[in-house]
Amino acid sequence: MMTMSEFRSLFHNGLIKQNTGLVQLLGLCPLLAISNNVVNALSLGLATTMVMAASSGAVSSVRHFVPNEIRIPVFVLIIAALVTVIDLAMNAFVHPLYLVLGIFIPLITTNCIVLARADAFAAKNHPLHSVVDAISMGLGLTLVLIVLGAIRELAGKGTLLSGIDMVFGQAAKGWVLHILPHYQGFLLAILPPGAFIALGLLIAANNWNKARAVQRVRAAVPMAT
């Protein structure tokens, strides 16, 4: 079982300290390609989280039976199977969203975050810890995806949540927020270069924040020597 502090440190690790998008810079291909609006970002983020939780749990449960030499093939096999299952399920049950997320669902298989966590964490830890770790990592990624998606959607089109009907059906059409009415649109934000620029700015903001935190700590504790 896990204590509250372990739980908290795992989440802190996944959401902030080792954030996949902003700190580890893993799995950037889907991150950059899919973050052109909030709905896409959220959906891919959740799909990845799901795969990560399932695969980490599975990997962690079987970790004692897997010889070291074939651990990578086994992990990839588990992840690939899970991703394909989710891919088929999405194709069947949320078809419009499937059309948008398209090739990025199968690509979750090769997303380094999933394999990285499976190999670096799940293969060495208890299943419960592994699942929590995977969820926190996945949520960390989802968070970045949402922020990135929001920035790009807002800057690019002046809206938020456009395309939400693809997830929740026609009824959700009215949920789209037109934050900036009569906005001319800033195409670059939606195009691929916008993804790089926005991610760069996010990383910069994160680093700046960290640097400031370090400075605060330094200022608070006078140098011992």
């Binding site: 010889p67 074939i70 588990i78 394909t84 088929l88 194709n91 069947a92 195409l187």
Partner: protein, 216 residues
Amino acid sequence: MSMTVATRNALRTGTVLFLFALVGTAMLAFTHDQTEPVITRSQQAEKLALINQVLPASSYDNDLLASRQDLPPDDLLGTRQPSALWIARRGSQVTAVVLEAIAPDGYAGDIALLIGIDIDGKVTGVRVTAHHETPGLGDYIDRAKSAWIDQFSGKSLTDPESKRWKVAKDGGAFDARAGATITPRAVVKAVKSALDYFARHRAAFVAAPPAKEKKA
């Protein structure tokens, strides 16, 4: 033991990997079985939904998707590969056709169109299904971006008259946005050609036997 360490290890890893592969594949096979019909249904629904954008569902009662035929490449359709044709019927009467066409002279290459034409030669609707036009400039032909494409509905070769099948800037009957006239010009031209094509082959379409559908 006569086996070497390497062989023993190889057998062990081989077995483990085999077991994992077996379980994984079985899981996949099961999911695939469960989802396959659903997926086929949603794909067909999607196609039908697209067709229904250019041809109201109320105007036919046959299984439209099953009526699909291949049209040979034709200059009027702008096609270089066989393209699809769907024939809508009410009862046994042909009421309209839906066909694929290509506007080859877009600003940045081909623009793929889906055009519905009723039996009187009137356009029931046009949709752009694929294009590479400059985002924010030529892409307003996409229904998702603007309603521009709707202005074709109800038009025929006689309304407006043939020489007014042009964009407003060239003295025609169709609007086009300032600064981006190449794209609409291409679309207008392609729709008109498709109408010409329909006019030329109308008899064949009307006479087409619904035999194939029964099979499906």
